[in-house]
Symmetry: D2
Subunit: 316 residues, 4 copies
């Protein structure tokens, strides 16, 4: 029998003491000055049981993890039409690469690289003004997490806006190919705010529960998305959730996951748990160094890899 | 309760009648002249129950599916050292692309694209002569399948050899970067023979059982590879098994799988089933058109997607 | 003895009747609606003799030809320091490609592709406000041409501004790499105005005289740039003046030249002539179809190719 | 009045003492062990006057310079048909890059990168057996130089053959695209021998005379190629003769030239001189470091840049 409380406690202790912690993202001051000694973890089981470790209640900038929630909103509103404007393949490239956009005529490889997420913002703007849409996003994630304290860190949003030249380049480039309906600055305004959502590990794991529950919001019993869509979002997280480190994450951890440069990762063990980890130090590919290690430990000890054959035991 | 026999029969009937069947690979006559009307399927459950449909007992050229077995052999003999010579990331490119080799100094992205599989051949040659190694591969796959009738189609091997200029280019290119220890022609000799293994769906599904069983050979109860390695091979199949169609396969089917240009696909539902499908017509990315569709149907109706949350039912 | 008057007349007649004229640039209305039947040509010899054909006095949008004059200004003001921010190699890519910027860290290949010209604008802005700089550019080109009637077409500049998303992408991308000191919109404001300069063939050929004269302004006898710089600007025009059609232009025409999407080309026969041609229809690479053909005829009949061996006649 | 004898002597003295000499090519022993202290230069004027400096009579491996002579032969035999199989644009890439071949379907950018020269070998093989063709090439270059002592260094050819994996990759890759009619090894056999031609600076400058003479062989007064072809070969040398350092060479030297990794450069001042320099140390792009510098000095002092405006003097 797996003792999840002990596992989470062990991992928390190991990570608190880990010597190699990576380096926080340096491109904006609000991220660069986060203490690399931080580590938090929250594991919420299918029955709602919650296990916490370390700084699990300290809010951090979820950055690209927000792409999961924006994609969920876009699928809910526009359905599979969105796939004419963004692909579903791993990019094999860095999160902010512009090269594939040139050969692929402005269609980003997937919704979890920056270019893809900007297109998703643009899609969501079809029915809203930016300010309104940002408000909706905040309400959506508060509902998913069942927590009204979640907020957008305006200082982060401003800093993203002031330094996000690569994102401006991506947006203008897609606009040139006709794959952006709004003005680039308008789509980016939404994108930068969405990236600036601040959640704690506990809040993030709560917000991710629908993905372990086949799309069902455990608070209400109603579906956020259909089971098929939940499954497919998980598939995209597995193949594309860590940029050009996605294969490695699948290989080592074996769970759908999405990372952000703020040092957070949301991982889903379908049917079993929603997990959030956070440690600001990043590896060379922009993924949280300790976050990945903590999830590798957790998946191995809990036997949660989706590539594993648990029921094979009985069959032997 | 899932009635697998009925599902397999239904799929067999649907595929036999499908109007859009793709086009068989044209680059060598032995593949080009296979009848596109063929469709076969074999599903072997964890308890050994076997369900067949269509041409499930007709041998076909497994081509790149052999990369799974070669990787398994290489991991068994050389362990994780192999990862210094081949990566674990999806390539985002076609199966025979040479572009990434230039920027990444001769290290292929993963063992399931051609360049990566040629490196695996080279690794296996460290301890064997080519003829000997080919014999070992054949024995290995016969053991896995529990079937001595599996053979190598020498006519296919000769045709590959005569027309495989892209593969010669890849091998020589990696040799130039020092990532091939043998003469390119020597490594390719092994590679072309391995690609020319002829198996029926039934034989292939049998050979894949260890991947649904956590590495255990159901014939003997002994491990072919450790549970961790089996899990990781599955992860690689999921992220890299269909070239630049891998994301799409994960999205639609949700199972680790490996396709070959002969029109076969091996798919694994961990703990549940080993599945082989075959239909020679290919889609634009070189994957079996009906094979993919059949697996999508099967995974959906059997509820086998690894991204699904089956136990969430009880938890609600 | 070469009868230049007859040659120019012949070419004018041939081009007026040419059936294949290409298609004018379509991306902004002021260019798209120019009559493709137009053709103009002006040849100014070293002694000042001027030969005209067709619509030689009709102003057109010189577009990228302006990059020659902007580079000349930048070299005059900042000297060889500019080469730390922009290269001197042919790009082998389209005029607006962004791919090389990613691998080459924001340093454009040469000052005659869009990215390079935007950097030149940024360099020139070091000492001026945009409006002031645009005024200086206009004065500079009026002085070179000895013609106060040259103007900037504000309708073109506005249209460029409104549709120039690729250029916004390039500028933001370089800014992200730190290779732009001004705000991207500021540098682009200058760039779009410079591209909107309207000159006739006669005015353009007049403005180019210093490049056939070793840098000397024939109006004043003073040097615009040193002979060495004039030579080097000519070299850049030869290797980089027609984007990924530069090799072809060198091969067929054999003169330094710079084209613009407005359909103009400025070509220099060092020591012999400054030539401007204009016909709005473009070939697949964005260079004037009849312009290129007219220059090929002219260079061949006048014996002006810089790759030719005229004095060899006497030496035989 | 230009005193060419003094200029050549000065340059010889400067280069003999130059401290920074680059590093000889290391990929095969016969090149790696050449003494980097060597420097030779030969200048042959249009009237046949010859000026020598340093090791001007020491044979060296001309390597890629041979591509000029092979192209000349191919144009003579097959005419402009060759341009359907090889382009005329600078590549913007390294001499042995394979990337463009993938996107451009096996058509090399120009005949002066390795891939292009291999295609030229293949074209020449249409009418000859390899051994015969190599013999013809040797006779051709001996005739051009008027020197029967020119030879092929078999030790170099063997070493190229044994280590030329990148070239095997290029040849097989083009074969895969159908742009090679012979077996790759057959075309490469010719290519490697052609690269192994050993000439002294004096011999090389003699062999290049037809390019300064409008295609005329000064020995016979007959045309080797037409004046138009000679001009066009010069144009290709200017735009493509130094790989991704071609722009720089045009900028600094201003003469058509072709370099080889043996450290030689052939440069043509049309109508004025055929020049060969040799110093085995290479710069980062594989071009002779002192060779380039010597040519820069020569072109500047002799006023030979093709971008210059000499007759403008009289016109002032």
């Amino acid at each position: 029998m797996v003792d999840l409380a002990a596992i989470v406690a062990d991992i928390g202790a190991e990570m608190a003491a880990a010597p190699e912690r990576g380096v926080p993202a340096q491109y904006i001051p609000p991220l660069a000055c986060v203490d690399p000694a931080r580590f938090g973890m929250a594991v919420i089981e299918a029955d709602g049981t919650c296990h916490l470790a370390g700084d699990a209640d300290m809010p951090f900038s979820i950055q690209s993890i927000s792409k999961v929630f924006a994609l969920t909103m876009a699928l809910g509103r526009e359905g599979d039409r969105i796939w004419s404007r963004v692909g579903r393949e791993p990019s094999g490239s860095a999160f902010n690469s512009i090269v594939q956009l040139e050969t692929e005529h402005g269609i980003p490889r997937n919704p979890f690289i920056n270019a893809g997420a900007i297109v998703v913002s643009d899609i969501l703007l079809a029915r809203h003004e930016p300010r309104e849409l940002i408000g909706e996003m905040l309400r959506f994630i508060r509902t998913l997490a069942g927590d009204e304290d979640i907020f957008i860190d305006e200082a982060v949003a401003r800093a993203e806006q002031q330094t996000g030249f690569r994102n401006f380049a991506l947006a203008n480039y897609m606009k040139a190919f006709g794959n952006l309906q709004n003005d680039p600055a308008r789509a980016l305004g939404v994108y930068f705010h969405q990236c600036s959502l601040a959640l704690s590990c506990r809040q993030l794991a709560m917000a991710g529960r629908f993905l372990m529950r086949g799309g069902v919001n455990p608070e209400t019993g109603f579906n956020i998305v259909s089971a098929e869509r939940a499954r497919r979002i998980n598939a995209l997280m597995l193949t594309c959730g860590h940029y050009d480190g996605s294969g490695e994450f699948a290989f080592r951890v074996g769970l759908p996951g999405k990372s952000g440069v703020g040092g957070g990762i949301l991982a889903i063990a379908p049917g079993k748990a929603s997990v959030a980890v956070w440690s600001p130090g990043l590896d060379a590919k922009g993924n949280s160094q300790l976050g990945k290690l903590a999830l590798e430990r957790l998946a191995a000890r809990a036997g949660w890899s989706i590539f594993d054959a648990p029921v094979a035991e009985g069959a032997r």
